[in-house]
Symmetry: C2
Subunit: 198 residues, 2 copies
DNA sequence: CGCTAACCTAGAACAAGTTTCAGTATCGAT
DNA sequence: ATCGATACTGAAACTTGTTCTAGGTTAGCG
């Protein structure tokens, strides 16, 4: 097979890369104020200095834009977390500590968190590849915190997925005001117990 | 305090109750075909024989409508599940069995499931009371499956919440085509293990 | 340099959720 | 049965995501 599944997107020119950055920056800025609703495509375009049609060429929908914004923010976060690895005794403790640190970061920008998480869970099949990228990055962060000697077992991977599910869903309950920060912590710690017991 | 938090909504007349039913029925029917996008407010109104403004008086947004539709469907499901209680040895097995039965029911109507779950996770604070009702009903189903001798401990409640988080989030990954049915089963079973080990 | 394809812009147009309004029907209490 | 309040109807208007069009700009290449 000489045909690739992904035809490798042509590399962007410098100006295109700059446009993409401006758009993502604007998106994060607007989301940081009013959350999901405040990210209005016309305003993103105008404030980024591109035409509406161009915005849609770079990000085929508002959901794509916000998921890309999340990828972007996750990279920052991943870098920050790496600088100071968690100090817990057990893998479970380290994962819980890492996720709580991420949670505290999100608490500083609740509106941004709201916009990104809502986009992520509202995404339909057309955004699956991008959502999957976010998911893989989250998995990587958790596995890194576990700091396993060897490759993870299938049971451990299942536990990590449950932790991820809990993380996402607990985040939503907090963002929509249905759960307290304390409860999110308890839920995350509870899920993390699965690690040491598999 | 003689002032109630909820001023008790005036009971609906028969015709109003009938309208409400027609609307919910139409909503479920349209969702059963095309999913979230196919539930269009104008069409729901017309097909239910009410004016658009009336539809919005009963359900202040599309999200409210779909969450109410989910409440409605959950009641049906709860009734169905009650008829044949799960037969597993342990509480964990019974909960997993119950959730997998619910999952199979959803598989028969994937588009309806998609519409309801998307609405649920996309709901913002204005829908919190309704979302909370759905959450409490889900908790009730799980606790019932556990069939505990006494009232649940705080640890058990935390485990139940993690199971609920996993259930919602795993459902989303399946609906958006990012996880197989087998994987959803594994994740649910993994989360359910928390029950017997607390 | 000059060509061509791809890219970008401004703006109109379209789609679906939501709001509004004037007029009509229904309900509950007297 | 009548009256005042509330609810319902039909239709238009408004908002914001998305698509489309016509014309100008850029990038890479001979």
């Amino acid at each position: 097979m000489t045909v690739e599944a992904k035809p490798a997107p042509p590399p962007l020119t410098e100006r295109q890369e700059a446009r993409r950055r401006r758009i993502l920056h604007t998106s994060a800025r607007l989301a940081g104020r009013g959350g999901f609703d405040a990210v209005q495509m016309r305003e993103v375009a105008e404030s980024s200095g591109v035409a509406l049609g161009t915005l849609y060429r770079y990000f085929p929908s508002k959901i794509h834009l916000l998921v890309a914004t999340m990828q972007d923010q996750l990279e920052h976060l991943h870098g920050t977390l790496r600088k100071r690895p968690p100090a817990g005794e057990s893998a479970a403790e380290r994962v819980a500590e890492t996720l709580m640190r991420a949670f505290r970061a999100l608490q500083r920008e609740p509106q941004l968190a709201d916009a990104m998480v809502r986009a992520l869970t509202f995404a339909d099949r057309s955004v699956s590849p991008e959502v999957d990228t976010v998911s893989r990055q989250t998995t990587a962060i958790i596995l890194e915190a576990m700091n396993l000697p060897g490759p993870p077992t299938p049971e451990q991977l299942a536990a990590v997925r449950v932790i991820e599910h809990t993380w996402h869903s607990a985040l939503i309950t907090w963002l929509s005001g249905r759960a307290s920060i304390a409860r999110v912590r308890i839920d995350i710690e509870t899920a993390c117990r699965l690690i040491d017991r598999t």
